[in-house]
């Protein structure tokens, strides 16, 4: 099967957000980067699918030309080849721009089954998977925690407010992966050595202008300064009083 894992390079989750001088973006100088947490799960699922049913795993990303270190790591964890659609403004792309660019490439690659993370941990859109599938006219199941493939399709489970939904889908499809689907592997020495010889192709990313216009970025509203109401069990009456009479949530 022709399997693709789409991954995104994002700031690490301990990154602090400092607003840049333009007032509409973030300072990136202090950022360390990683493959988005859920994309690691997507990659693992792609590799496990290949191990179970054969085929090839292509790692696809839109990112900076200099970002191949993280992509190389994906090859060390079982990807067969990687394609970087180079765009230094990758962090500024809106979800439509990203989805249309990926859709074009996935079509060109002849992908049959595509895994993405449930959400990228920088912009938290959780939109690119289902948008890309819609542009392609494919099935898509989001937030998947369990899945099996059958002839021409598969069954996936996703968690909702009400419980766990079972969704039947046809192929080709895009599956967005949630925590719990698998345990991503670490890159072993053998994998790291092998990754050096695997093809990593760099191509220009299709230019799809953004519709989203960021007019400003601000720190989150300061919370009113709180207070310690007391220590131990003795503090409970003071807490109840504050919740009742000040916060009015009881």
């Amino acid at each position: 099967m022709n399997i693709v894992a789409c991954v995104k390079r994002v700031p690490t989750t301990d990154a602090q957000a400092e607003i840049a001088a333009d007032g509409t973006s973030l300072k990136t100088d202090g950022f360390q980067y990683m493959i988005s947490f859920y994309d690691e799960i997507a990659l693992e699922q792609a590799v496990q699918t290949k191990e179970a049913s054969g085929g090839e795993v292509t790692v696809l990303t839109i990112g900076p030309a200099s970002g191949s270190k993280e992509v190389r790591e994906c090859l060390a964890k079982g990807g067969d080849k990687a394609i970087v659609l180079a765009d230094d403004a990758w962090m500024q792309r809106d979800c439509r721009s990203t989805a249309k660019t990926l859709a074009t490439k996935l079509q060109e690659l002849g992908a049959e089954l595509v895994f993405m993370g449930r959400v990228a941990t920088d912009r938290d859109n959780a939109a690119v998977g289902p948008m890309t599938a819609t542009y392609l006219g494919w099935a898509c199941v989001t937030d998947v925690v369990e899945m099996t493939l059958e002839d021409g399709g598969g069954t996936a489970k996703r968690e909702t407010e009400d419980g766990v939904e079972t969704v039947r889908f046809s192929l080709p499809a895009i599956i967005t992966c949630d925590k719990g689907l698998n345990e991503p592997r670490y890159a072993g020495l053998k994998g790291i050595m092998a990754a050096k010889k695997k093809p990593l192709e760099e191509a220009g990313a299709e230019d799809v202008p953004n519709q989203a216009v960021v007019t400003g970025v601000a720190p989150p509203p300061e919370r009113k300064e709180g207070r310690i109401v007391g220590e131990g069990v003795e503090a409970i009456p003071a807490l109840i009083d504050a919740l009742r009479n000040e916060a009015q949530v009881l």
């Binding site: 700031p11 989750t13 301990d14 602090q16 957000a17 509409t24 979800c95 439509r96 989805a99 941990t121 938290d124 859109n125 959780a126 939109a127 998977g129 289902p130 890309t132 599938a133 819609t134 099935a139 898509c140 989001t142 909702t160 407010e161 009400d162 419980g163 766990v164 939904e165 079972t166 969704v167 039947r168 889908f169 499809a173 925590k179 953004n210 519709q211 989203a212 216009v213 960021v214 007019t215 400003g216 970025v217 601000a218 989150p220 919370r223 009113k224 709180g226 310690i228 109401v229 007391g230 220590e231 131990g232 069990v233 409970i236 807490l239 109840i240 504050a242 919740l243 916060a247 949530v249």
Partner: protein, 317 residues
């Protein structure tokens, strides 16, 4: 005049609060609201939506099983048919899955998890968190239709007096379909939806001590149980309960953090909550910097006593 189409989820014969909040957001931004509903019981719910601010309701009929792709195509058709300049859904599991597909059908971008929506020129402007709330971005779109999801528990439902005109359209076939739902044990609330969230962290020391969290949540009656990343990674709690940057972002009216030190990625996921209470042994824990009220103390002593007090208050009504 602006028109916003809102996808309305419903359960057990009532619209979900998150969907009513989305209608409220549309109304507050000065737009007329057209509701779209699907699934068994949609007709009855549609007829009531006039009192929640909808001028019209469109029921997608003809298929029993929910298909996100077929539903999205039908929603996009409704947007086109009524010349709407907005589409909203709640930022729920269903809304987050549906809205991107509707946006793609309209070839418009999607602005997710909005915390503000206002009219601007012929369109709209929104605010939304970045990096799970470490900063807030103000965004507009040059697309023809503003497609967005609204964060739960942020917007107020609208009060409307009128009755909605109900109309039915037929759904097409989908490429993916929900074949069954394994319902949660009754009464268990989702961490994103619940008005009160009681979260536990490593300070509870042992997974068994999460019983204290569950008991406090039960005493509130309208509370969900949440967890820090540390205890989810340790396998104490399911990922569906994780609050933070790699879990869920929540904004309940009341958030109680117990034995959670307050790593930046956790704070990002809960700092927009209405009122925050922290109970922690370490007086220097970062969680106290965002908490409105803190108790320095051992969870195993403080929580059972607090549960008892809350139970008393709730019993009095």
């Amino acid at each position: 005049m602006s028109t916003i189409v809102v996808f309305v989820e419903h359960t057990e014969g009532s619209p979900r609060r998150g969907s009513l909040e989305a209608i409220g957001a549309a109304r507050a931004a000065g737009a007329d609201c057209v509701a779209v509903l699907s699934g068994p019981g949609a007709d009855a719910v549609a007829a009531t939506l006039g009192t929640n601010g909808a001028a019209r309701a469109v029921v997608l009929a003809g298929r029993d099983a929910y298909s996100p792709d077929a539903t999205a195509a039908a929603c996009a058709d409704v947007v086109k048919e009524c010349g709407a300049n907005g589409f909203l859904a709640a930022s729920s599991a269903c809304g987050r899955d549906l809205a991107p597909r509707v946006a793609a059908h309209l070839d418009c971008t999607l602005l997710t998890d909005c915390i503000e929506l206002s009219a601007e020129g012929d369109g709209f402007a929104i605010k939304r968190p970045w990096l799970a709330g470490k900063c807030i971005a103000a965004v507009t779109t040059s697309g023809d239709v503003l497609c967005a999801t609204t964060r739960l528990n942020v917007f107020q439902p609208a009060e409307g007096g009128g009755s909605a005109e109900v109309q039915t359209v037929t759904l097409g076939e989908g490429k993916a379909e929900v074949v069954s739902v394994d319902a949660k044990s009754s009464g268990a609330l989702d961490v994103k939806e619940a008005p009160v969230v009681i979260s536990g962290g490593r300070g509870l020391k042992e997974p068994e001590h999460f019983k204290l969290i569950e008991e406090l949540a039960a005493a509130f009656g309208n509370a969900a149980v949440g967890a820090s990343r540390a205890v989810v990674d340790a396998g104490w709690r399911p990922h569906s309960e994780q609050v933070g940057q790699t879990g869920k972002t929540v904004s309940p009216q009341l958030y109680v953090a117990i034995g959670i030190s307050g790593a930046i990625q956790h704070l990002a996921g809960m700092r927009t909550s209405g009122t925050i209470v922290a109970i922690n042994k370490d007086a220097d824990a970062p969680i106290f910097k965002v908490a409105d009220y803190g108790i320095v103390g051992d969870a195993s002593e403080v929580v059972p006593a607090l549960t008892e007090e809350i139970a008393k208050i709730k019993a009095q009504g």
